[in-house]
């Protein structure tokens, strides 16, 4: 077990390194020269050369990478071109907003999927079951940003129940998730984010519960007169480890999906930040945001794997 954990940890290091390489490469593949975009067009060439040397851009790419990596490890993600502020601070503030609604969404999706999936597995061919099947196809096929727009049309435009965009008057500094006046701004982003993972997790829950219910020992328990409730509890407990693993994975994907959803709702998270970076072609900001999000995804996967190996004694990985 500890061997597995250690091994898994060590294997994460090259992956993280790879992630930094890709993030570094983002600047390299971006068209245009980073310096000329920094300075005024009439800057004399010798001044540009000086700047170039100052930023280490006259070094070979490999050296540049390690210089950059060294700065990143110290928490220096560079300076945003648009507002000339440190990228790290800006990304972290946005990341907090993203991760909170992502967590709420994924937990919501998890609970609802357990309920729906179990009902569907128990009443196979029934109404819930069919709905779940349809929901699964829908959830996989629907573009989340369109779903977000449709939610806005329904709840903000037609029904006028919820605010369409933003984070309320106070912005993210005073935002209180336990105050409805603030929280209502988060409701639609959460629903839009939760639906696709909900669809997928419901389908998996349905499949694994029905698999367990079809096993011989369950039939034996039934024959012995164990109550249906006890059997269901047993089945749910059995699928927990894999369901939790699923939850972690979906959380990661959800962070990816949030890029578009946050744009629709102008929710000031990393998605909105990325959108801003794209519109202003602020490559350092883009790079920093991607790095943080991908790093988070890797770490979430790591935690999920470790948690799963703790929870599930059947996993004997060497």
């Amino acid at each position: 077990m500890w061997m597995y954990a250690l091994r898994r940890l060590i294997l994460t290091i090259p992956i993280l390194l790879g992630v930094t390489i890709i993030c570094f490469a983002l600047v390299q593949i971006a068209p245009g020269d980073p310096i000329t975009s920094l300075v005024r067009p009439d800057t004399p060439p010798e001044q540009i050369a000086m700047l170039r040397a100052y930023y280490g851009l006259d070094q070979p790419v490999v050296v540049q990478y390690f210089m950059w990596l060294w700065r990143v490890l110290q928490g220096n993600f560079g300076t945003s071109i648009a507002n000339n502020a440190p990228v790290a601070a800006e990304v972290m503030r946005a990341f907090a907003n993203t991760i909170v609604i992502a967590l709420i969404s994924v937990v919501l999706a998890f609970i609802v999927s357990l309920i729906l999936g179990t009902i569907a597995a128990l009443r196979q061919g029934g109404i819930v079951d069919r709905l779940v099947t349809a929901l699964a196809v829908f959830g996989i096929s629907v573009p989340t940003f369109w779903l977000a727009v449709v939610l806005v049309i329904f709840f903000a435009v037609n029904l006028n129940w919820l605010p369409a965009t933003g984070m309320g008057s106070g912005g993210s500094d005073t935002f209180n998730y336990f105050d409805w006046n603030d929280f209502k701004f988060a409701v639609m982003p959460i629903i839009a984010l939760a639906l696709p993972p909900l669809a997928i997790m419901t389908r998996t829950t349905r499949a694994s519960i029905s698999e367990i219910l079809n096993q011989d020992f369950i039939q034996t328990l039934r024959a012995k007169g164990l109550s249906e409730f006890a059997i269901i509890t047993h089945a749910i407990r059995n699928i927990m480890p894999s369901a939790v693993a699923m939850l972690g994975l979906q959380l990661g994907y959800l962070i990816g999906g949030s890029v578009l959803v946050e744009t629709v709702f102008t929710w000031p998270g990393t998605g909105a930040l990325l959108n801003k970076a794209i519109l202003t072609r602020d490559i350092p900001l883009l790079q920093g945001t991607i790095l943080v999000l991908a790093g988070a995804f890797v770490l979430i996967n790591l935690v999920v794997d470790l948690a799963q190996s703790l929870v599930d004694p059947r996993i004997k990985r060497t």
Binding site: V259, L293, A294
Partner: protein, 300 residues
């Protein structure tokens, strides 16, 4: 929108019991598909969508890029503009028809490229194993460290907008999962006795790959690739939505959705149309690839 699912492909190795009348593998696949009405319906739907897109220049009643300030945001069912007009008074029906071309192109072309590239790498990694495998697959692992939407946004964001960059981006995003599926399938085939028999007859690696490995790896890889078409369409529309696709006057479902967003208070139904097109197309492709996967699960 979901992420790219892990590959699953027929791995059943049991032998089919009765010999059917239909000869060969594709025959039996078709035999199964014939009775799968959902898949057939979606296949028909896709055919219609493709035809509409292909013949858009002849079918669309108006120039999709001609705006008219006088006719902005007409409702659906308007006498002249059947599906209304957008925020610049352009005919929605025409734009949707033309936009389908871009979406389909973005759904299919990157998948084809990614299948060629990722499949080749996967087959090489799976067949040679060892160090070659390690280098290829560990590289792919790094790409798996990104949720696909994020990777797409990262690459497209750096490269900038434009149809070519979008295609490159999607291809790069789709290569790793295809590579992984091809690698697994190849490693499986590679360990089978008939490959050893071919080696024992003195065949070159190239000949074995093309004559024995490829035909056995092809169907799982193609089935998997087909599931990526819908993902590619959604990713592409997402990128266009962020302004990382075609440049403005051109019609594209993702971009239309984005620009119509400002008009949801005026014409919510018109604003929802492009997304609906994406949804229907993507569902159709999803269901077809599902059906295909089931039909291809034929033991052979």
């Amino acid at each position: 929108m979901t992420d790219i699912p892990a590959g699953s492909f027929p791995t059943d190795k049991t032998q089919a019991a009765p010999a059917t009348k239909v000869r060969g593998y594709w025959g039996s696949v078709w035999n199964r598909l014939r009775y799968d009405y959902v898949t057939l319906f979606c296949l028909g739907l896709i055919t219609v969508i493709v035809l509409l897109a292909v013949f858009a220049p002849w079918l669309s009643p108006m120039d999709p890029e001609r705006s008219s300030m006088a006719n902005r945001l007409r409702p659906i069912g308007h006498a002249k503009f059947t599906l209304g007009t957008d925020e610049q008074g352009r005919d929605m029906l025409s734009r949707l028809l033309w936009g389908g071309r871009v979406s389909l192109l973005m759904g299919i072309v990157p998948v084809i490229f990614a299948t060629l590239i990722g499949g080749t790498f996967g087959i090489i990694a799976g067949y040679y194993g060892g160090k070659v495998n390690m280098v290829i697959m560990r590289t792919m692992d790094v790409f798996f460290a990104f949720p696909s939407v994020l990777l797409a946004v990262a690459i497209a964001g750096s490269l900038g907008g434009g149809i070519g960059n979008q295609m490159i981006t999607l291809t790069v995003v789709l290569i790793p999962p295809i590579c992984r599926v091809a690698e697994t399938a190849t490693a499986q085939v590679r360990s089978l006795d008939f490959v050893d028999a071919a080696r024992a007859s003195g065949a070159s690696t190239y000949s074995i790959l093309t004559n024995h490995v490829l035909i056995n790896v092809l169907s799982p890889v193609l089935v998997y690739s087909s599931t990526l078409v819908s993902i590619s369409i959604i990713l592409a529309s997402g990128l266009s939505f962020l302004g990382l696709g075609v440049s403005p006057p051109t019609a594209d479902w993702g971009l239309m959705l984005s620009t119509l967003r400002q008009s949801i208070y005026v014409q919510p139904l018109v604003a929802a149309l492009p997304g609906l097109c994406i949804l229907v197309t993507s569902i159709a492709f999803n269901l077809v690839s599902d059906g295909l996967r089931q039909a291809m699960d034929v033991k052979a």
